[in-house]
């Protein structure tokens, strides 16, 4: 049962083959056994989980069950959840028990899904390796020497190691797609504004978007049906009619126009990742897709633009952590300013501090035009690149990252190299487009490699269709690490 998809679990629960309590217990046992080595979860609370599972079973007995009632789910520790510690991977919030729940948590709970726990992450979602967590690095279940990717590394590992059938993550510059790729799971970052940011601890407000991570595209579609939708508490949440993201899954890919951006297959892409992506493209071609070359000329500029905009927004978003109303406060201080400075120096890790400093600098007097405004103009150029490309194709395909997962510690002291590895994911966030990662094979060192699918705005159903058809034709998504 531990290897079942959401779809299968839903069927087993409906048929009475298993109860929600039994299911939750299986997963809790597995977490207990494997989490000490993997470090995928920050918080586990078996009693709470079982309480939710009992309620789900009761709802089912009362005939009030929906398709996902009783199905377990793990949340990245960035989504506030009432009564649960919501740390965001930071010492700053190590003692923070949220007094309210994020919109997506409310939605999942209302659907009857059972909370398995809260997954590890790079502190405040800043990182591509999950080494920046106050709670220690997360291990890649395929290779304990490898990073799992970040920032939603705990969620990716939970799904890959079957500690949870699915998990929620967030993606500001690739934080769902890159760990999904490195761990061999499926994840989708929806169009900006599709999933409410209410109750999701902010990193960079104009880029952050929550999304599902699961074994299959079909499961992602089912979860997206639950978490997507308008929320008046988020001013950037879009008012659109609800859609069924599973509606196009079964469509054949005949005539699908697939765009390959020249710049994604240029220098910097490792040979083995290029091969995996190429063979995935061949598979899609066999399924009836037509391949066209497109160009995203400003791809390289997404790195500087992102590393100005995201830190700028973050530097302001993280000012609220001041030791006054909640969270960490330094034990010793001489006056107010000293209290602020020590609290923040102690509460934040190195990467978070670096980004706050970069953001503070680019917004400071005399530099705004040269950095922030310039980056926003480049952001427009990048969005325009995609607009032009989508005139010629339905979806864009490419790698998620230049290489498979690198070793833990390999880039830990080299932020520039770490940032450069985000080159294929950042521009999607800058443009606000939906993007996903689908397991597509393995690198020479045996570590998983994902295929990135980028769609036009609001084309999640089409992307999931492509991914689902690919998964019907391949079994990369069903491979699992030996643990």
């Amino acid at each position: 049962m531990i290897n079942a998809t959401l779809k299968e679990l839903s069927r087993h629960l409906t048929s009475g083959e298993v109860t929600s309590v039994e299911l939750a217990t299986q997963y809790l046992d597995r977490i207990k056994a494997l989490n000490p080595a993997l470090n995928a979860f920050i918080t586990i609370d078996g009693e709470k989980t079982l309480e939710e599972a009992r309620a789900a079973d009761a709802a089912r007995a009362a005939g009030e069950a929906g398709p996902l009632t009783g199905v377990p789910l793990a949340y990245k520790d960035i989504f506030c959840q009432e009564g649960w510690k919501t740390s965001c991977g930071s010492r700053m919030l190590d003692n923070f028990v949220a007094p309210y729940s994020a919109h997506v948590v409310e939605r999942c709970r209302a659907a009857g899904m059972v909370t398995l726990g809260r997954t590890n992450m790079d502190e405040f979602a800043m990182g591509s390796s999950n080494e920046n967590s106050y709670y220690g690095p997360v291990k890649n279940p395929w290779d304990f020497n490898a990073i799992p990717g970040g920032s939603s590394g705990g969620s990716a590992v939970a799904v890959a190691a079957r500690l949870a059938p699915a998990a929620l993550g967030t993606d500001t510059g690739g934080s769902i797609r890159q760990p999904a790729s490195h761990c061999g799971v499926t994840g989708i970052k929806p169009t900006y504004g599709t999933v409410s940011r209410y109750g999701m601890v902010a990193f960079a407000s104009s880029l952050d978007q929550g999304g599902p991570m699961a074994q299959t595209a079909e499961d992602c579609a089912l979860l997206l049906n639950v978490i997507a939708g308008f929320d008046s508490r988020d001013s950037t949440s879009l008012e659109r009619a609800p859609e069924d993201y599973t509606r196009s899954l079964e469509q054949p890919l005949t005539g699908l126009k697939v765009g390959l951006p020249r710049e994604y297959f240029a220098e910097g892409l490792s040979e083995d990742v290029a091969q995996v992506v190429q063979s995935a493209i061949d598979t899609l071609r066999q399924l009836g897709a037509e391949v066209v070359e497109v160009s995203l000329p400003n791809t390289r500029l997404s790195i500087p633009a992102y590393y100005v905009i995201a830190p700028a927004e973050a530097s302001s978003n993280l000012s609220r952590y001041d030791g006054v109303r909640y969270g960490h406060r330094a034990a010793e201080y001489s006056d107010l300013v000293d209290m602020y400075e020590r609290t923040r120096a102690e509460g934040f890790g190195d990467e978070v501090k670096r980004r706050i400093l970069v953001g503070t600098y680019v917004l400071s007097h005399g530099y705004y035009d040269a950095y922030y405004l310039k980056a926003q103009k480049i952001r427009r150029l990048i969005a325009d690149d995609f607009r032009k490309a989508f005139e010629r194709c339905d979806v864009i395909l490419g790698p998620v990252a230049p290489t498979a997962a690198f070793d833990i510690g390999q880039l830990a002291d080299d932020p520039v190299q770490m940032y450069l590895s985000d080159i294929y994911t950042l521009s999607i966030n800058l443009a606000g487009l939906p993007g996903m990662s689908v397991p597509a094979g393995f690198a020479g060192n045996g570590r998983p490699v994902g295929l990135q699918i980028v769609g036009n705005y609001f084309s999640e159903a089409k992307m999931l269709n492509v991914a689902h058809q690919f998964q019907l034709a391949t079994d990369w998504h069903a491979r699992r690490p030996v643990l």
Binding site: P99, D338, K377
Partner: protein, 95 residues
């Protein structure tokens, strides 16, 4: 461009993050690496390009003026470092 130690000390102060002399040196080096990357932007001509603040070109929704939030002081202050008589306490503020 290159950030001096004074620049780093100034922005750390603005950001209210305490940094030691040693940290300033190490941080300066890393920040200069990052700014080396960022400076690539300057080579691009962006004259006449409208800055993009947001992915969607839509306007703000406005809510009706109504009181909808109940008093949840007890729940909110249960996670506060220091409160007394309903107030959050901070080191003395001098105006």
């Amino acid at each position: 461009m290159s950030l001096t130690h004074q620049d780093v000390a100034r922005i750390a102060r603005l950001a209210r993050i305490a940094v030691t002399e040693d940290e300033i040196a190490a941080t300066s080096e890393k920040l200069n690496g990052i700014f080396g990357l960022i400076e690539e932007m300057q080579a691009v001509n962006t004259d006449g390009i409208e800055p993009m603040a947001h992915p969607q070109d839509v306007f703000l929704r406005l809510r009706e003026d109504a009181v909808t939030e109940p008093n949840r002081r007890e729940a909110f202050q249960s996670v506060a470092p220091q409160v007394e008589k309903g107030l959050f306490l901070v080191p003395k503020v001098i105006e």
